[in-house]
């Protein structure tokens, strides 16, 4: 039974999923962004006929190929883990994941696999225009693949477009459009792919800066900085914009995560956005959770209210409102949600008992409730709350979410400045004179990866304790297997992925040092 599950099993399963997902994500964003940078460079080559652009394109294509090849199929491991470690969850999500992932698989196979071969083997064998079209299709295909994965991920944060079938204990999709056009999915896709574009642009600017520091391949470096600088600047601004729209959606569908990101405990009007701050234990508690004061705070007045409600006087609920409830603001307490969820779970239990007794009349009556709008909106919507013993258990780690968010946003604004400076120095032909900038660009490469990983930490740690928002907590989702087995595979993955990462970095560094072919 769920009550008897070993907590260390949950923790190890989470750690393993986090490890594999974060390693997988080391490879993905560079593929998403660099594919478009290649497409831009090759377009210039085809339009101008200038062989220098072909050489530049082929150099970056080599680095793209190494990253693509090492990273390919690393995401499949996550699917292994769903089946072994997260079987209750895998069953419960039903066909919601199946449809988007099947589309992703087909598109990835036909678009990426076919046209990646043309990209690498097709120079001088297919026409310039066909080769260019292949490069664009790889870029579009890679990014569309990400769309389907992110649609599935977004459903976990805002489950829509489905109905729960008590007989099979599975959710069944009743609106593909609702799943795909889920506002969280749209925001998440735009924010994630544009952040991948930023990472790839930082990568290109950083490697190009290294060439300029070494006084090698100066023309390649300058031209690459121009393309990546423009693409990076536009993408960074898009990341900021999509981050803003994501925040608005988040405040509606995951208000607890949003409040945790801001360490906002007391709800307020005219809420300011904390730009910089340090958390300190206030001594107060919500249940067993510490309440933090934000010290050394630099705040932009009213911005949080504007971001979430569109007006400066808008009310932003804090964690205390969200846990204890605030009737004046129409916010239900978690205790109330727990009661409603417990009722929904009782209906499911009654259904199970009727099924065991073969009482078809009761089964039909109880099953009908799961299709009744009132029951879905007022009870089943809170199904997952029935698994908690205390209201405070719905609060995620505030320090992790708060700091990860701030560092990610801070780095995002730093990249805007980096690209603006790159373009400024390029325009003034002073890139080489500003050695400090070249070194800054080079050391920004790991910072781009850090920002990208922190984005996922905010997303996934911020939505704890849920694996499916409001419907299934993480501890209910795990399989009844031994924690030892999960520990073993955790270390196997740690070794495998570290080896892959070392392989990627060493092959890539060698190719960068070799430089483009003459």
């Amino acid at each position: 039974m769920i009550e008897n599950f070993d907590l260390s099993l949950v923790d190890w399963s989470r750690a393993q999923f986090a490890l594999t997902a974060m390693y997988h994500w080391l490879f993905v964003p560079l593929t998403l962004g660099l594919s478009f940078i290649l497409a831009f460079m090759e377009t210039i080559y085809v339009r101008t006929g200038d062989e220098k652009w072909k050489r530049i394109t082929k150099f970056w294509m080599t680095l793209f190929g190494i990253n693509f090849a090492i990273g390919v199929a690393t995401g499949i491991i996550l699917e292994f883990e769903f089946g072994t470690n997260w079987s209750n969850y895998s069953w419960f999500v039903g066909d919601i994941f199946g449809a988007p992932l099947a589309v992703e698989g087909i598109m990835a196979f036909f678009l990426e696999s076919t046209f990646v071969a043309v990209m690498f083997f097709g120079w001088n064998k297919v026409s310039k225009k066909f080769h260019l079209a292949s490069t664009w299709l790889v870029a579009i295909g890679a990014n569309l693949s990400a769309l389907w994965i992110l649609v599935a991920n977004a459903w976990m944060e805002n489950p829509v477009g489905m109905v729960f079938n008590p007989d099979t204990a599975r959710n069944e999709m009743n609106s593909f459009a609702e799943v795909v056009l889920n506002p969280v999915a749209v925001d998440k896709f735009l924010h994630t792919v544009t952040s991948g574009f930023v990472l790839a642009s930082v990568f290109v600017v950083g490697i190009s800066a290294w060439f300029l520091i070494r006084k090698r391949e100066e023309e390649l470096a300058r031209k690459s900085i121009l393309i990546a600088g423009i693409f990076g600047l536009v993408s960074s601004l898009a990341v900021a914009l999509t981050g803003d729209t994501s925040a608005r959606t988040l405040a509606q569908v995951q208000p607890v995560k949003f409040a945790a990101m801001e360490a906002l405990y007391e709800g307020k009007t005219d809420a300011g956005l904390t730009v910089i701050g340090a958390l300190a234990d206030s001594g107060d508690r919500i249940g067993e959770k510490k309440v933090h004061d934000v010290k050394l705070k630099i705040e932009i007045p009213k911005l949080l209210s504007i971001m979430t409600t569109g007006k400066g006087s808008g009310y932003v609920p804090g964690l205390k409102d969200l846990v204890n409830g605030n009737p004046e603001r129409g916010i239900l307490s978690v205790s109330e949600m727990m009661e409603r969820g417990t009722y929904a779970r009782q209906v499911l239990t009654d259904y199970k008992m009727a099924k065991e007794l073969g009482d078809k009349e009761s089964m039909a009556e109880l099953a009908a409730k799961f299709e009744d709008k009132d029951f879905i909106d007022n009870y089943f919507k809170y199904f997952g709350y029935s698994y908690f013993e205390h209201p405070w258990q719905v609060i995620p780690s505030v320090p992790v979410t708060f700091y990860a968010f701030r560092v990610m946003v801070g780095l995002g604004f730093f990249f805007i400045l980096l690209f603006a400076l790159a373009l400024w120095f390029h325009k003034r032909k002073t890139l080489e004179k500003n050695q400090w900038f070249l070194w800054l660009a080079l050391i920004s490469i790991p910072l781009a990866y850090l920002a990208s990983e922190l984005g996922w930490i905010v997303t996934e740690m911020g939505r704890q304790p849920w694996i499916i928002q409001n419907l299934m907590p993480v501890h209910v989702a795990v399989s009844n297997i031994s924690a030892g087995a999960v520990q073993t595979t955790f270390w196997l993955f740690a070794v495998l992925f570290t080896a892959l990462l070392i392989a990627e970095i060493s092959i890539m560094v060698r190719q960068i040092k070799t430089g483009p072919k003459h």
Binding site: M1, T62, G83, T84, R345, T489, L500
Partner: protein, 75 residues
């Protein structure tokens, strides 16, 4: 117009020549891809990642009943 046989032959030659004339890094990453896929599918998937519900239950009905039991707990 090329016959289907010719098209297939050209596709085969395209890939064959591509792999035959592959660069140093291309060969290295293909070795890594093959080793990685071998480890993932023939070692990890087979020995460490059985599908919990498929291995322990024979039909979807049994799997559904088991998860229903898990979801409803001791109530």
């Amino acid at each position: 117009m090329s016959s289907p046989g010719n098209v297939l032959n050209r596709i085969f030659r395209f890939y064959y020549d591509g792999f035959r004339t592959m660069s140093w890094w291309g060969k290295r990453v293909w070795i890594i891809i093959l080793v990685k896929l071998f480890i993932m599918f023939l070692i990890l998937k087979l020995f460490f990642f059985p599908d919990f519900l498929k291995v322990n239950f024979n039909s979807d009905r049994e799997r559904g009943d088991y998860v229903l039991e898990q979801l409803t707990g001791n109530n």
